[in-house]
Symmetry: C2
Subunit: 121 residues, 2 copies
């Protein structure tokens, strides 16, 4: 991962290529739910119903589809524990850590933007 551009301000020169890479990123983790699901799984909600409860507004169908995408992209591992009843759990993989920078940056921005709005009244 190249971090050498992190100290350079955004401008026409440094941004060439960003549109494509950001587009690739948003293709994988964009949309309304994916990052929310990733954070919920990381916070310890692992079973389907737990996940659905922890993410207000998501439907079972949407959650199921998003989990399949996240599994395909290697962020989440689906484990079936045989027994009575059968328990299906979604675990974060090591690869989920590659999103740490994105989540931290979004979290920092969300926090500072909220403070800005509050300061403006």
């Amino acid at each position: 991962m190249e971090n050498d551009t992190l100290t350079v301000p955004i401008n026409a020169a440094t941004c060439t290529g960003h549109l494509a890479a950001v587009g690739d990123a948003l293709y994988v983790i964009g949309g309304k739910w994916k990052l929310r699901i990733i954070i919920a799984i990381n916070e310890g909600s692992r079973r389907f119903n737990e996940l659905q409860r922890s993410i207000p507004g998501i439907s079972a169908k949407m959650l199921s589809n998003e989990l399949k995408d996240l599994e395909l992209n290697g962020f989440v591992k689906r484990s079936v524990h045989t027994g009575i009843p059968v328990v299906v759990e979604y675990e974060p993989t090591d690869y989920i850590d590659s999103l740490r920078g994105v989540i931290e940056a979004l979290s920092a921005f969300g926090k500072s933007h909220k403070e800005k709005l509050q300061a403006e009244g």
Copy 2:
């Protein structure tokens, strides 16, 4: 902006509060187009038609709505240059720099994720 959590891995403890802050961030810059428009404006596409051409797939109505949102949130300034013809330009504000961390993190992730997919064949 607090960056002290940047060195701590994501887990249940450090993530408390992230869901809310990330939710706030996604509310402002989430969705299919906003970050793409922000990057395009930073790359130097400033007029409406230029912007629409530089963002494949966006409709005029969608672009217009998104630009209004971005203006309301302080990322973009709309300037009308009177003359014949009247020229309307969208300029990045200083506040757009607050998104630098988010864009850099998404760009780095998009790049490394693409490399992973290519390595896996």
